[in-house]
């Protein structure tokens, strides 16, 4: 931890709230100071999550802390049950109850007897020593462990999308593109988009999926649980680029035993290739004469960085620039983690080329803010209809960004 100039790595609690915040019809009650929840709501609303999960707070004061009182929690639950009549209340602790050692799961077990019609589901990660991605992953796992009901496979075939959460830049656009492709290639609709576009009733039906598509590694534990319980196979992959998207479709076809619609694939490939064809001459010329102009530097979530790197450097043969991820737990040999000191130093040393990173890094480096691929950033993201980065339309979007970036920065 320590001194930060830019936004620090968020906490596990923020990962929990980010995951639960978009679940429609849900209620969350945090045991802790009001300010946390108020700000969390502000953060989610600026990320494009409107009034989905209702965030309540008990608040907590010195007397509660001194005497270890949890009376506020009981009264708040009573009030919410009486007036909202929810089927389910998520409960989470903020940092203060974590420090004083409040045992929220034990409290929930005690209180559950008083509210038989309302399920009390506690979540941990009070923001003490748990990172954001761990909190997010644990929350996804807790959701699939506790909510899905026993059921058979859905007919017609349907799928679940796991890991679409508000922390990812353009999370709804990316989810929308994958849903569009699944509909076009397989005629499959989602049972549940966990969690950016779902309700508690939909999470309950996840067991009926023909396949679980995981779009970030934090969702893999949840998918494995669903595989063990329901036998649902899964695929953990974010498709970037035209070829990778076709491969992604074919893998889903193999896993589900459902042949994809070849006409759809052909039409999508044809459209993407036709529209991207004008870029080829310029990109080829640059690769031969000025490859530095195409050096691709990426910073953000490890799965996103690897995905875009595979498209840009693997498929299009751009030289690899500086690439880093934003979580030390996700770092590997091929992708280091950079703290803010490290990425600011690295960006100062490396000028030119294509830089895609967080809005905050781009703003600091004085680079093109349209090249944002990760959060945090200074801008609000309330419009869900922005172009994606994954899939066929994502490939076009990336090419559009790259060709404009190189032509604006060079004398072409």
């Amino acid at each position: 931890m320590g001194l930060h100039r830019f936004r620090p790595p968020p906490s596990g609690r923020m990962g929990t709230l980010c995951t639960l915040g978009s679940i429609r019809g849900a209620v969350l009650l945090e045991f802790g100071c009001m300010g946390h929840i108020l700000y969390s709501r502000v953060a989610l609303s600026r990320a494009g999550i409107g009034e989905a999960c209702k965030f309540y707070s008990t608040h907590i004061d010195e007397i509660d802390i001194t005497f270890g009182s949890t009376e506020r929690l009981r009264r708040a639950i009573t009030d919410i049950v009486q007036y909202e009549k929810p089927r389910l209340i998520f409960l989470s602790p903020s940092a203060v109850p974590e420090v004083i050692g409040t045992d929220l799961p034990a409290l929930c077990r005690e209180l559950q007897r008083e509210y038989p019609e309302t399920r009390l589901l506690p979540f941990g990660c009070g923001g003490f020593n748990v990172g954001f991605h761990q909190g997010l992953g644990e929350t996804l796992l807790l959701l699939v462990k506790n909510l899905p009901v026993d059921r058979g496979i859905a007919e017609p075939p349907a799928f679940n999308l796991i890991g679409s959460c508000a922390d990812l830049f353009r999370f709804r656009a990316d989810a929308g593109e994958l849903i569009r492709i699944m509909d076009g290639a397989f005629g499959m609709k989602p049972l549940c988009v966990l969690t950016s576009d779902t309700a508690t009733a939909q999470i309950e039906q996840m067991g009926g999926g023909r396949i679980n598509i995981v779009i970030r590694r934090e969702g893999e534990a949840a998918a494995e649980y669903l595989r063990d319980r329901f036998g649902t196979p899964c695929l953990s992959l974010r498709p970037y680029g035209i070829k990778a998207t076709v491969q992604w479709i074919r893998r889903i076809g193999e896993i589900t035993g459902i042949a994809p619609d070849e006409d759809f694939i052909a039409a999508q490939v044809r459209e993407a290739e036709t529209l991207s064809a004008p870029c080829e001459a310029t990109l080829s010329h640059l690769l031969r004469e000025r490859p530095d102009a195409l050096k691709l530097s990426l910073g953000g979530h490890a799965d996103i960085v690897k995905g875009i790197m595979a498209f840009g450097c693997g498929e299009l043969l751009f030289p690899r620039g500086l690439c880093w991820c934003d979580d030390p737990e996700m770092a590997g040999e091929d992708l280091p983690y950079f703290s803010e000191d490290q990425w600011t130093r690295a960006l100062e040393e490396q000028k030119g080329g294509l830089l895609m990173a967080s809005g905050e890094a781009l703003a600091w480096a004085g680079r093109n803010r349209e090249m944002q691929i990760s959060n945090p950033g200074p801008r609000w993201q309330v419009n869900p209809y922005q172009p994606p980065f994954v899939g066929f339309r994502g490939a076009l979007h990336l090419l559009d960004l790259w060709i404009n970036e190189v032509t604006e920065n060079s004398s072409l």
């Binding site: 931890m1 620090p8 923020m14 300010g35 953060a43 965030f55 707070s57 008990t58």
Partner: protein, 427 residues
Amino acid sequence: MKETEHLKRLSTVRSNGGIKFLSPAAFPGSHCPMHTALVLTRSIRGLSSLVVGMPECATYSRFVIPRAEGKQGELHRMYVVDSEEVVFGCRAGLSEAVRRMAGAGARHLMLIATCIPELIGEDLEGMLREIRGQVPARLTFVFMGHFKCNSHPQGYWKTFAALGGFMEARKRDPQRVNVLGQGPGKDPLPPPALLDVLERKGFHLRFLGLGTSLEDFLEAPDAALNLVLSPLTEPLAVLMETAFGIPQVGLHNVYGIDAIDRAYDSIAEKLESPWDDAFREERQRALRWQERLAAKLNGLCGVFGPLGTLMPVPLAVYLAGFGFRPLLLHMEEFYPADSGYAQELNALGFDPPVCHMVNFRRDLALVEAMAADLWLGQMPGKGKIPSLPGIPGLSAQFGYERICRLGELMLNVPDRRPDRQPGQKEN
């Protein structure tokens, strides 16, 4: 009423701890004091900041201060406490952070410590005393633990008071008056008569509030008088009186022609400059409005909703003097002066319950069951009780003008229905 049984009566409240929520589940609730501390800090040119707390506090502080560097070279940073430091303290790491910021150019630094540093008893005063001579920066701090209060006013008044820590004694300028609680810049309203008269008499006004430069705060001890227009700056005025002998006259809680007369006389006496009937017209106008208020409010009852920075108890005392019965008071903050005002209200025969409203939809439903004639403040949502949304705006006015404005607002109050007794419930 059953729904308000859990609330304390005003006479038994001694601090924020005595102010209970009207309904127990906050939605949306109130901002924490870190928010307002940052709003104030951001507005002061020349002041750098260091937020100390958990990742949440650090991240959300960027909603208020989005840039790490201010336009005049201010540095805004965050120190995130890790799990070891929660147990063993963050003195070493935080000292190093302060040194780095001072080395990077921060000359006046405000440390804003949030819930966890305050909860674990971090000795910021000791730490700053230790490193004060070692760094080329002036340092001060505030503790902004939300568990110490219900809402955000402490973020303002504690930070204003902490700025007093930067002040040093200066040669007195008998023509200088500090106006505490109003920032510089254009005000859409006509200037208050008092300030206008002071300027015409040759006094130089220095406005200390949101948007004031740090330089103005540092020069403030040269004033002959502090005019206090907001409860948020009263602690700073008290500090300046104690440290530098600068007298203060508070106008933020002064209602009633007699009280205003006394306050204005006090100003003239302290400045050694008589008014020579400068306020005759405003006083006459205010007197007429006051008479109309008395006639209008007698026998009515009401709820004091959120009133912004306006303290509800002194206003309740004034209105109670005309026979207006306060049924319920929302209090954002219990100030030390509120104890005295509470006694005045009790002496008039009123001891209303006090609360903090944190769930407006639920709270409105509860309040409507009280059958009030009036809701003072902005009504959250559509309610049945007639409301006066302009009341919080009274904080921008004072003296005779405030009485006039209050009277204008009260013109909109419907007369009590002759078929209903005060406090009688609707069928």
